[in-house]
Symmetry: C2
Subunit: 293 residues, 2 copies
């Protein structure tokens, strides 16, 4: 079975107990946060790393991949809220708070975070040592001070370090996906450090480029958000050309960083295909910033 379909099935199975007897609107909101998905790159990356390492604990690898995606989906629900991006659209659909209201959206995000850790908890008795490491890895990727919560919170600070901000907001969960995959696969996690940071920074620079260039149809969400919210952005800092050069450099560095291992070529192929979707297709010009006029 295709890995994308396996991930969808695993997500379905993971959400069934959480949604089937829940308050109906909450159950629907949780599902809308997760389905239909985007590229599912984070769980695919995690599974590919686990396979590249020998797939020592496949059930833990699957739980980790699903948990990574649920945590990612929760972060998108929060990102879209009126007090953050106030986004009406996500993946071309109305955002969760637009459909169900802010209360239910916030509770759906909470339930997704809790479910992610609950799934890991189910693996504890079979592989305690590895599950403990995976749990710590994912908590680091989404919590404070290194993870998504901290990354988002840097936006509320008067002074900001763009690299630390991007690393926490986006890189941390990519890094967690890689390290969790390596641990669950039975690999040496140290050899895999830094790959996720590079991929995360590449993703963020590409997102900044597309936000500035107005590729709303490819993003499935509104553009011009960085400028509108006065957020730090790679385009604002390096210019469009500089940001594009940085994106290519980061992707090349990431591929070089993949350690030598039996599944290396499959993993590099996954990253290359993903990289193709990141690099803007339109010629790079001075960014068109959405204005209120």
């Amino acid at each position: 079975m295709d890995v994308y379909i396996r991930i969808e099935h695993a997500l379905e199975a993971a959400l069934r107990p959480t949604t089937s007897t829940a308050p109906p609107r909450l159950g629907q909101a949780i599902r809308q946060a997760v389905f239909p998905g985007g590229a599912r790159f984070r769980p695919r990356l995690s599974l590919a790393v686990a396979r590249a390492c020998g797939d020592a604990h496949p059930e833990l690898a699957r739980a980790a991949a699903v948990a990574v995606e649920l945590l990612h989906c929760a972060s998108l629900v929060y990102d879209d809220l009126p007090c953050f991006d106030d986004a009406p659209l996500r993946r071309g659909q109305p955002t969760v708070h637009v459909t169900f209201g802010e209360e239910v959206a916030i509770l759906a995000g909470n339930a997704l975070i809790v479910r992610a850790f609950e799934l890991l908890g189910e693996q504890v008795t079979q592989t305690p040592l590895h599950t403990g490491l995976v749990l710590a890895t994912l908590a680091r990727g989404v919590g404070s001070p290194h993870g998504i919560a901290a990354g988002q919170a840097w936006e509320s600070e008067p002074r900001i370090d763009l690299r630390a901000y991007h690393r926490a907001k986006t890189g941390a969960l990519f890094e967690a996906a890689v390290i969790a995959g390596a641990v669950a696969g039975g690999g040496d996690a140290r050899a895999w450090r830094g790959l996720g940071d590079l991929l995360g920074e590449a993703y963020q620079v590409a997102d900044d480029l597309r936000d500035a260039h107005g590729e709303s149809h490819r993003l499935g969400k509104p553009v011009g958000q960085d400028a509108a919210h006065g957020r730090p952005s790679a385009v604002g800092l390096l210019g469009a050309d500089g940001a594009l050069r940085r994106l290519h450099r980061l992707l090349a560095d990431a591929i070089e960083r993949v350690p030598s291992c039996p599944g290396r070529s499959d993993l590099v192929l996954l990253i290359e295909r993903w990289a193709d979707t990141l690099v803007p297709r339109e010629p790079v010009e001075a960014p068109r910033i959405a204005s209120a006029s």
Copy 2:
């Protein structure tokens, strides 16, 4: 050392890595969500049950008690948000979103949930079986469909079962505190089922009574919220006298439910002292509902 002080120290230690290098406002918001605390009844209850069961895994019991309190504090941050209660005060202080804004408050809540599960993850290698059970218990107490997230979400449904609503919104975390304590203490969790539900329902009925009777000074938060938000309430359903009778009945049932064990008398004393703080001191009259006039 007094158990209350030990809990404060354990909370301090648990939050240090989360706040010390975090974005400064996020770190402060996380601390404001947790300190100064209320009665810390949930972690005290959890520790007392663990002791009553023989305190087989004291480190796990402590981690569970801290996790329960962090999850409780996170739920209060969300509860107070503009889209829920829109509360300006909590424990007599400005609420987290009033001081730091909604974004930082939501992220602080997220970080607290993640930290709670991270703390449990740290116990995995020492006592995998028991840690797995404690983790599942707490996830059930705060997630969906049985925990706080589901309980809050019932408020957004057109039809509601008051008992299911209270059980999920309040009872589930009390129940989780009791069961987690029993598991960490090495007891038979089955013997302890139902005690937390009774305590949680008692707490909710007492909260409804005080909300309706306007005991703002004792609650440290605004009153008349149930009527103002059209929320189901024991006072609305049973009347003030009926709700007070129900509160006494629930407390008596809870004490009767405590299984025979070496630490039974200490635990009953803790519950009785807590019960004293729950029963309204003012004579019960027809509820004074806050009106807009």
